[in-house]
Structures are given as structure tokens and as C-alpha cells.
Symmetry: none
Subunit: 151 residues, 2 copies
DNA sequence: CAACTCGGTGGGAAAAAGTGGGAATGCGTG
DNA sequence: CACGCATTCCCACTTTTTCCCACCGAGTTG
């Protein structure tokens, strides 16, 4: 599975070099085929190996079409899903529309999150992280799943 | 299990020599493979043998993705989790991003904490320890789990 | 007391990864 | 049909990372 934070750069053509330690896994899992889409809560992109995405898309499709929240989720996620492929030097090309959505400039952060990656503009990632650290300090109400968590 | 506080040094490349008394145990437990990630409350790093980490990662992954508190925890912990390996002279390489997070300079403290280590900048460790001693003097309210604790 | 061993430290060379750009190909358009 | 724009493919350069070896100092032993 994918973990860890990687500083990456988008070149002038919008290409992004996938860190090599992930490449082999991506190739064997999905033959280098990935799907990028938008995150519903934050201005970042989600990047899935194709088979992972197909499961997610199925789950999304099964949601009740008449529920407005579900509908919105479908439109955002399925509506922005874009096929990407690793080129011969292990890079993927992020299309302009997605680049804009996530306000990606030259330096970005690629964050491993288990079955997917998140791609953030570097500055936004740093700011958001500081926020999360502050919020968690104030020890707000924890959901029951977390109360008993021992790390 | 890991115990004790060790003064360690990071060289100019960010390498850290694991104290020898832990090496054998790390090698037999995880073949020298470790995971470092950030602590969400303090500016220090957590270092787990790989199998220990995998349990934790599983727990984290099972949390509901749509819950913001859970999401933050996943992003911080899985998002920063980095594979480390003992090299031939028993050192691990702490990547720059984690070094920055924990404001690690040349001298650091490696603290055994049972199933993991904590890695602190030496100055920050000393200051924090003084703080904890002061706070505990004021004998604040104890949570119920601690009331019955006998040491 | 010298020599050896072991843990820790530093640095250099080889290998690999990241980066940029140019040529070729394909597509849409005038 | 020809032209221009955009995309893709490929090559080459630069930087980073990794691997390996040598040195230093302290503690131990013959």
C-alpha cells in the first residue's frame, strides 16, 4: 500500500515524476494506469490505481440517485475522473483542469494514503497540516471509533 | 520491547546510528525494516518495526473516510509514514521532510517506548521534560483510567 | 602498556533518479 | 490539402541517493 509524503515538481508541461519506490507497485497492480479525480472536501486531487478506482466508482454508482448529497458526490468524483498513464520515464501528465482545481503550481506534495495518493499544492499542504495539528491539540470530541485507539 | 533514552547524532546526510543494543532485536523482528512517522501532538517522530506499524495502519485505514477527525489522523500518520532500513553499519536515514517536522538538528534523543521509539530534538526533549514535571506538580484532574493506576 | 575489537562517524565513488528540452507524431482547422 | 498547435516520445544532462570503505576513539585483553 502507499504511504509517505513526497515533494514533487510539475514541469512546464504539467508532468509529474512518480517517485520510483511506488512505480513497480503501480505497474504490477494496474499496468501503470491511474485515475485522478478531485477531493470533495479539500482542494487536492485523489489518484487511484485503476482497479481501486473501479471499486470506488461502483460504490458511488450504487448510492441513491435521488439523495442530493449522494448526487453531488457522484458528480464531483465521477465527473472529474481522468485516466492517467505512466510514461516511459515514470511520469504522469496532470491535465490543466485538475491542475487548476487543486491550484497546483510548480512544487507539490504527493501523499500516500493506503489505496490512493493525494496530490496537494505544497504551500496548501503545509498550511493545512499546521491547522490540523492545532485543531487536534484542542482535543475536540472524538468519534467513538477513535476513543479507544491505541497507537 | 524498547526502553531507555539514548543520545544520538544525525550526521550531515541525516543518518542516525541505531544503538547496538536494539539492533539485534530490530533485525530479528522485522529484518531491519522500520517505519518513521510524525507524532500528532508533539514535534517528534515515531519509529516502529514494520510489523508493529502494519497493525496500526490497519486500524487507521478502517476509520471512516468521511469523518474529518479520522481523515486528519490518517493524513498525518499514514501520510508521513516512511520506510527506513538499517544499513550495513546499523544506521537509518531520516528523510529531510521528517527532519524538518521534528526540527532535528545534530544531536537528538531516541526514546524507547515499548513497541516503538520516539525521536526528539535534544533541546526540545529537555525543555518538554521540564514542562511535564512542572505540570504534574499542579496535580490536575486525572482521567478515570489513571485513578486506579498503581505503579 | 601495547594491540586488538567494537561502536560510532565521515566521506568519496558509483549508481540511480529527477529534470529539461527537442524532435517526431498526431490532431484539428483554415 | 497544408498549416499550426498540441501532445507524446525519447534522449541527455544534472542532481541526489546509495553503497562501501576507512578512520577515530574508547574500552578490553593479552
Amino acid at each position: 500500500m502507499f504511504r509517505g509524503a513526497n515533494k514533487v515538481t510539475l514541469d512546464s508541461k504539467g508532468r509529474l515524476a512518480m517517485p520510483t519506490r511506488y512505480r513497480e507497485r503501480i505497474v504490477e497492480r494496474s499496468n501503470g494506469r491511474l485515475i485522478a479525480t478531485v477531493d470533495r472536501a479539500d482542494r487536492c486531487l485523489l489518484i487511484y490505481p485503476l482497479p481501486e478506482w473501479e471499486e470506488i466508482e461502483l460504490k458511488l454508482r450504487r448510492l441513491p440517485t435521488l439523495n442530493p448529497v449522494a448526487r453531488r458526490l457522484q458528480r464531483l468524483m465521477i465527473g472529474h475522473a481522468t485516466d492517467l498513464e505512466l510514461d516511459t520515464s515514470g511520469r504522469i501528465l496532470i491535465p490543466p483542469s485538475l491542475r487548476e482545481y487543486a491550484t497546483l503550481s510548480r512544487t507539490a506534495m504527493l501523499i500516500g494514503q493506503g489505496n490512493r495518493f493525494e496530490l496537494w499544492d505544497e504551500a496548501l499542504w503545509n498550511d493545512s497540516r499546521e491547522q490540523w495539528l492545532k485543531v487536534d491539540e484542542t482535543a475536540e470530541e472524538l468519534p467513538p471509533e477513535l476513543e479507544s485507539l491505541s497507537l
